[in-house]
């Protein structure tokens, strides 16, 4: 009975999973972020100044993180040619696990490795998925804790506004 109950409850959740919103950031200065991607190439957020950057903290064990990854990819593709970048920071997982995940869900943006969770702690990304939208000025403008539909009109509007 309990199983049936939760199947129903979670089905309801799945149908209304887009309750999370991008909210204005009130947490102060942008913490530093300099991490290697899966091939070992260093990415420093400071070098992206002038672009709008979406920093997304995620893990393969985080179901909503996995669920929103394709919408991140579609948003990035739809803004190709504009100064918009996505940096997806994985929370301390093995390289092989991340690689297996992206084998099934390929993405075109850099997947960075926060091997000892130092960066996620500095960003206070304690609740996954945690996403921060950084403006061209290098400041964090918006934050979302939870799965977000990155293609929804309100989200796109906020990103496009930052791109202007």
């Amino acid at each position: 009975m309990a199983r049936v109950f939760f199947s129903i409850a979670l089905a309801a959740v799945a149908f209304s999973a887009w309750c999370v919103e991008l909210k204005p950031w009130e947490g102060g200065a942008t913490p530093p972020l300099a991490l290697d991607d899966l091939s070992g190439k260093r990415h420093d957020l400071a070098e992206y100044k002038g672009s709008v950057v979406l920093v997304n903290f995620w893990a393969t064990w985080c179901e909503p993180c996995r669920a929103e990854m394709p919408s991140l990819e579609r948003l990035r593709k739809s803004l190709q040619g504009k100064r918009f970048e996505v940096l997806a920071v994985n929370l301390a997982e093995p390289l092989s696990r991340i690689e297996k995940f992206v084998d099934g869900v390929p993405v075109s943006f850099p997947l960075l490795r926060d091997r000892d969770s130092t960066t996620s702690k500095a960003w206070k990304a304690k609740l996954l998925p945690a996403s921060y939208v950084i403006g061209r000025d290098g400041r964090i403008h918006y934050v979302a804790y939870g799965e977000l539909d990155w293609e929804s009109a309100p989200v796109r509007a906020k990103v496009l506004e930052l791109l202007q």
Binding site: F6, A9, C19, T60, P94, K100, G104, G146
Partner: protein
């Protein structure tokens, strides 16, 4: 790809793994990794609904590390909040009054390692004056005067130093209390009433709170540590571990005292009484081999098939209209300003499952 098939493939992809640098080191050093999933539904939610889910201990220790927490559901707000006094960490979710079926899923990953303090070896560990005052202070249900002080002085008569006093209190709690299977949940932890009634029966939140109160009353820093069992015992104790992945009713609170030179020392007199009552065939005599072994192990050691949530008392839930809670070890929820019964998972409708992640 729809969400279901996407999730299915992603889950499959996440199953196979190799050791990351951090986890490889952790595994070598005896760390185990676990995942808990808490699913909550608030039925008949009229008006604004809120839920508070205890999360793994926020601070990293040499026996616990939190990897991360994730959430999904139809809440309009979900954020991690901390009780300012004790650092109790919880996920606070809120639903608008238009949401008639509030639902939430919280996944937590963490690592644990066995705790065994060598009490024969003294170092330089000490608390500051402020910390000592903090951990000997009373809470609403754990007073340190009156009958608590009187009992503590009697129990520790002749004992010198933190260690001797703690041992005397531990032995007294084990010898004089009993686990009462009729106690709701893990008990309330009202130690004054317990002592005044002369009926020293209860569960972990009663018996270990009694240990903490008696310790604090004679100046030994002590604290309850609230949590939940997540795996079977590796030491052969059926009563001290989980019987299935469903751990919805496996909440368990423990205790620690601080001994100068040794640091925080784990104890669990309530679990000794649990072994007495529940270890098959049940109602074991205190001289039973299994009871004696547990009694020895649980003064200075914890088997870490258990997740620590927090060490808080008198917890005020953020945005709640309800009164302070003696502790936060259960999922709590309210709808339209009315608290749901935290001790009745079936009425509140939540389940907690746990699994070990083999790296």
């Amino acid at each position: 790809m729809n969400r279901r098939s996407f999730l299915k493939s992603a889950t499959a992809a996440s199953v196979a793994s190799a050791l990351p640098q951090r986890f490889a080191l952790a595994a070598e050093a005896g760390w185990r990794t676990f995942e808990t999933v808490t699913r909550v539904e608030i039925k008949d939610a009229f008006g604004t609904a809120r839920a508070w889910v205890p999360l793994p201990l926020a601070m990293d220790t040499d026996w616990h590390k939190t990897i991360g927490n994730a959430w999904s559901g139809n809440a309009r707000l979900a954020k991690i909040e901390h009780d300012g006094k004790y650092g109790v960490t919880m996920l606070h979710a809120e639903w608008s009054d238009k949401e008639m079926n509030p639902a939430l899923e919280v996944t937590s990953r963490f690592m644990t390692r066995e705790r065994n303090v060598d009490l024969s070896r003294a170092g330089s560990a000490d608390l500051s004056v402020a910390e000592r005052a903090f951990y000997t202070a009373p809470s609403e249900l754990i007073p340190t005067d009156g009958v608590v002080l009187k009992t503590a002085l009697e129990v520790t008569r002749g004992a010198k130093g933190d260690l001797e006093k703690s041992r005397a209190i531990y032995d007294w709690v084990v010898d004089n209390t009993f686990r009462d299977p009729k106690t709701r949940g893990c008990g309330v932890g009202d130690i004054k009433s317990l002592l005044e009634s002369g009926n020293l029966g209860g569960k972990c939140a009663d018996l270990n709170a009694l240990y903490v109160g008696l310790s604090r009353a004679v100046g030994v820093p002590a604290r309850d540590v609230y949590g939940i069992r997540v795996a079977p015992s590796r030491y052969g104790y059926k009563s001290l571990g989980t019987g299935s992945p469903n751990i919805t009713k496996a909440q368990h609170c423990r205790a620690e005292f601080f001994a100068r030179g040794r640091g925080w020392v784990p104890v669990d007199p309530a679990d000794v009484r649990k072994v007495v009552l529940e270890e098959p065939p049940g109602n074991l005599p205190v001289q039973d081999e299994k009871v004696l072994a547990a009694r020895k192990r649980l003064f200075g050691g914890w088997e870490m098939n258990w997740l620590a949530y927090n060490m808080g008392a008198d917890v005020k839930l953020p945005n709640s209209k309800g009164p302070k809670l003696p502790y936060l070890m259960y999922v709590n929820a309210e709808a339209d300003g009315e608290m749901r019964d935290q001790l009745e998972p079936d009425s509140l409708r939540y389940t907690i499952t746990a699994r070990e992640i083999i790296l």
